[in-house]
């Protein structure tokens, strides 16, 4: 019996959210008196994989087939099933992101394992195996009990603080035999959005609404985002008016994000917008209109004109960085 984690990577680089998942899995393993094993698929170097030990992985199983460098849910599922069998895994963890959402449900269905998607808590073992997740688009939470023997969890990124510890994980190769059918998805073209922090994984997000008055006024917003290393988002009317590209649109019909910090500038805070952002840890609202409903959902509010406040805020961030680095 053990806990395994799908430790996804991009060209051999593990992101913070993977460390978070490893640490999360290690915590669960400890509760269950067992160990956590990270599963790495595709080409990755040993150093980076050993590093996962610093976040609690007892061991790394590496399936070094370079056809796994691209996401193919069938192949990933097969590899994870092999790893789970080898380790006798009772709990399988992945991230609630593009990769995890493609693979974990497939794996759960294969193993007839109960699954909680987008968990935001560690399991409560006092009465079964219960996890908390957000439901009704951020308007409520549910506690879901998994009753099957094997359990699959996808963890919502940015749920827990990541603490690097000591230790290095031993890397063990795992051989899995694939056939052509496992690689049914042929990648023709990849378009990475360059130079910007991808919204879904941004820990800090700066977002503009109709109150920005026009696309020509985005400069100060971009500067603030740049200074913070934040992703850029916008409200629906902004995307609808083609002031900003649609992939920046967050809200119920756009993307749902859960950054640590969401700074909303000139967004009134219609309920549809809130649905996409209100599980952000901290919300700052900057709006000229003191009656903007968004203030009710905010942690910090500034009443005033974006054109005046943004440069001041950017300057304050610059000063802060100068003194804290």
């Amino acid at each position: 019996m053990s806990v395994i984690i799908l430790a996804e990577h991009e060209e051999g680089v593990f992101k913070k959210k993977v460390f978070e998942a490893v640490q999360y899995a290690a915590g669960i393993a400890k509760e269950l008196n067992t160990t956590a094993t990270a599963v790495v698929l595709g080409s990755a170097n040993a150093d980076a994989m050993q590093q996962l030990g610093a976040y609690g992985a007892g061991k790394v199983l590496h399936v070094a087939d370079d056809r796994l460098n691209q996401l193919n849910a069938r192949a990933y599922t097969k590899a994870l099933v092999a790893a789970a069998e080898k380790e006798g895994a009772k709990v399988i963890i992945a991230l609630h992101d593009v990769t995890g959402k493609a693979v974990a449900p497939r794996l759960a269905a294969r193993l007839k394992a109960g699954m909680v998607a987008g968990a935001i808590s560690t399991p409560d073992l006092s009465n079964g195996f219960t996890l908390k997740k957000s439901v009704f688009s951020g308007k409520a939470f549910s506690y879901i009990n998994i009753s099957s023997d094997v359990k699959v969890i996808t963890l919502l990124p940015n749920t827990f603080q990541v603490n690097k510890g000591e230790g290095s994980a031993a890397v063990e190769a795992l051989a899995v035999s694939f056939d052509d059918k496992d690689f049914g998805v042929k990648v023709k073209e990849v378009n990475k959005i360059k130079g910007e922090v991808p919204l879904a994984e941004a820990e800090l997000v700066v977002s503009g609404g109709r109150g920005m008055k026009g696309p020509e006024n985005w400069g100060p917003l971009e500067e603030l985002a740049h200074e913070l290393g934040a992703g850029l988002a916008c409200s629906r009317p902004v995307a609808d008016s083609h002031w900003r590209p649609h992939h920046e649109h967050v809200g119920q019909t756009g993307g749902t994000i859960r950054p640590n910090l969401y700074i909303a500038v000139g967004i009134s805070g219609a309920i549809q917008h809130l649905a996409g952002v209100n599980s952000s840890k901290t919300i700052v609202v900057i709006n000229k209109d003191p009656e903007a409903p968004f203030f009710k959902a905010a942690d910090y509010g500034v009443i005033g004109d974006a054109a005046e406040i943004l440069p001041k805020l950017t300057e304050a961030v610059r000063k802060f960085k100068a003194t804290h680095n």
């Binding site: 449900p105 998607a117 304050a316």
Partner: protein, 247 residues
């Protein structure tokens, strides 16, 4: 080509969510139910477009639910679609729902199964991948574009930090999101026509639930907003560091 579109009934986006006293049920009085927007505007409309262009011959709809979901599935039929299948059971466990749909669909020879990227009630986003596994099909999640020619689908999907164009052989399951199709509003002619379209009720297979909802909970009320004067941006940055601990 035969397409199956999975439809889920959800409370309307503006619904005020409240739960029963034992915290186990959604309070349903005053709730307006709609078709899950991702199922409707992206999966269903794209399927209809494929039929309109002659790529697909059949578009059927499937939902898992008791008789109370029939008005919503009729609404989906009003947009288009040849017939609807209602599997007569109800579950909050996604595996049960996927297994019921798969049990029905496996012998029907569907080439393409479409669903929304997630439902706006349980926000799981697992249906497509589970169906793909249970039907032994390929799967593309979070697709923004889908075309089919000569038994092969060309799909754009969201990946970490960008977009990817893939080619996949049918049969295939695709979960759909924004970009896939232009939103449509049903028309009265469609609504009238939907009344007489076949709605088959299928009794559920025996599937054991692997999860259950122990309780629902409302989020705690925010402790209230702290207002900061526009000239005190240093203070704001400081609070974000020391109090909120986010920078």
């Amino acid at each position: 080509m035969k397409i199956l579109v999975c439809i889920s009934q959800v409370p309307d986006t503006t619904t005020k969510i409240a739960f029963s006293d034992d915290k186990k049920q959604l309070k349903t009085d005053g709730v307006t139910y709609i078709i899950n927007p991702y199922d409707e505007w992206y999966a269903l409309v794209r399927a209809l477009e494929l039929k309109e262009t002659g790529t697909a011959t059949t578009v059927n709809l499937v939902t898992v639910g008791t008789a109370t979901v029939e008005p919503v599935i009729r609404k989906a039929l009003a947009l288009g679609g040849d017939e609807a299948i209602r599997i007569n059971t109800d579950s909050t466990d996604p595996y049960v729902v996927a297994a019921q749909i798969a049990e029905y669909a496996k012998s029907e020879g569907y080439d393409l199964v479409l669903c929304g990227k997630e439902s706006i009630d349980y926000n799981n986003g697992v249906m497509g991948a589970m169906l793909a596994e249970l039907l032994d099909m390929n799967y593309i999640g979070f697709a923004t574009k889908l075309d089919v020619a000569n038994g092969t689908a060309t799909v754009n999907r969201e990946i970490e930090g960008g977009q990817e164009t893939d080619e996949v052989a049918l049969p295939l399951v695709v979960s759909c999101q924004k970009g896939m199709a232009e939103a449509r509003i049903p028309n009265m002619r469609g609504i009238m026509a939907a009344r007489t379209k076949p709605l088959k009720v299928v009794e559920p297979a025996a599937v054991t639930a692997l999860t259950n909802v122990a309780a629902y909970e409302m989020p705690p009320a925010k402790s209230g907003v702290k207002m900061i004067a526009p000239e005190n941006m240093d203070e704001l940055v400081n609070l974000l560091h020391t109090e909120a601990k986010v920078i």
